[in-house]
Amino acid sequence: MLGPTIDKYAAPKNAYSLAFTLTPWFAWISILLFIGGIYGGLVYAPPDYDQGESFRIIYVHVPAAWMSMFVYVVMAIAGACGLIWKVKLMDAVARSCAPLGASFTLLALVTGSIWGKPMWGTWWVWDARLTSELILLFLYLGYMALQSSIDDRRTAARAGAILALVGVVNIPIIHFSVEWWNTLHQGPTVTKLDTPSIHVTMLIPLLIMSIAYTTFFITMLMVRLRAEILDQERNTTWVRDLVLGGTDK
């Protein structure tokens, strides 16, 4: 049952039309969740006893940081599937993930820095989490640089998959080493963030926001994936029919 379904949608044409159908669904779910999450975060959640109103940036910052790591893992898994089963669609998924993940990482860095201004008094602190996010951004940029300098699409995808897998093995090591470095050099500057529990009225909007981010990621992935498929299959007849026919399917 599952096998034929996977085979069917691994074909670029079917994947394209599936992505086309699903995009608006995920887009609308994501918009509704964003409205709910932002209302919950900015209005419903009480101000923090310690950080006041400025803690509310957590609703933008924390899901972005989660997504930055999640997208890297998705990218590596898609790359591995492309390597192992030689599915071209998975190559396109991996390639579409990179700019999205890099954007989430950048968003996490920028919002972290904006949050740092009232909390730490400076725009940047060499805090363990910010530093590992920065290194993660380097990994994304390296992946994208490698992709863009190999002309052959297939080779680029496979080389990128290897790099993403090496990155996935390294991310926990990098994360741990940076924490080690930070505790030795800095002392606990961020214990505020480690306060044991977060109140449920603050937690619910955070969860809604993280689902909103995930559905937003899926929406954007579908849009990019469609562009990738069209580019990858640009010499086939179905793409020519699609473009010349002007139909929306």
């Binding site: 380097f138 490698l146 300098s149 496979r158 290897i162 090496v166 093995v169 080493s177 080690w180």
Partner: protein, 224 residues
């Protein structure tokens, strides 16, 4: 000829080729010396300042020298086609890749380690820190060669491959830098260095088990 003989034959061939090209061997060392010289010029000649920053300077300079020396690992073999022949040979690719990595380390990592010890005299590194510095370099530079070999395999022969290689490799080198410098700094303050050495050893074993596979696979991808 068994796999072991193939390993030795390739290792000896690479060493012979390397020693006939002394320039390739000496350039990273010269670069290392120059980078280290920049720091006293930038920080000033005071002994206390240089001593405090010595581990960082030595390690950052070795990291950069190791990164730029990676470029030669597969380049000439790729250009004259012998890399393709090596991969087509009946011996396991991993064995052959390991021979090439070991040869490269013997010609870059090992001289860098000795050179680093000499240069740390210029930076007034305290006597107690010499042995830990040697230890971190002996554990760390093979990790740099192993992890580096994957990135070289992915970028060899690309236009602007050299710059791209550095960009891919530096984020992956950061954990080595952190643990190595932390160990030398601890030694300078008379603290225990066991934790850092365990981590470096663990990373070395991880790199030793995974990197040759990834490198061999990456080379095959690049060869088509």
């Amino acid at each position: 000829m068994g796999a072991y003989q193939a390993f030795t034959a390739l290792l000896l061939r690479d060493l012979k080729l390397g020693f006939r090209n002394m320039g390739d061997l000496l350039n990273p060392l010269l670069f290392f010396l120059m980078v280290v010289t920049l720091f006293p010029l930038a920080l000033g000649p005071e002994k206390s300042v240089l001593q405090e920053h010595a581990p960082a300077v030595i390690w950052v300079a070795s990291l950069l020298a190791a990164s730029i020396s990676l470029d030669t690992m597969f380049r000439s073999d790729m250009e004259d086609g012998s890399l393709e022949q090596i991969l087509l040979s009946p011996y396991p690719d991993i064995i052959l890749v390991m021979a090439k990595i070991l040869a490269h380390w013997l010609m870059t990592g090992a001289p860098l380690t000795i050179f680093a010890l000499l240069l740390s005299v210029l930076l007034y590194l305290p006597g107690a820190a010499y042995l830990p510095l040697l230890g971190t370099l002996l554990l760390g530079t093979p990790i740099l060669s192993m992890v580096g070999s994957v990135a070289v395999a992915l970028t060899v022969g690309l236009r602007n491959g050299g710059m791209l290689l550095i960009l891919l490799i530096l984020p992956l080198y950061m954990p080595v830098l952190i643990f190595a410098i932390s160990a030398v700094n601890n030694a300078m303050r008379g603290l225990s260095v066991a934790g850092e050495f365990y981590f470096l050893s663990g990373m070395l074993i991880l790199a030793l088990t995974l990197a040759p596979f990834a490198t061999a696979y990456a080379l095959k991808i690049r060869m088509g």
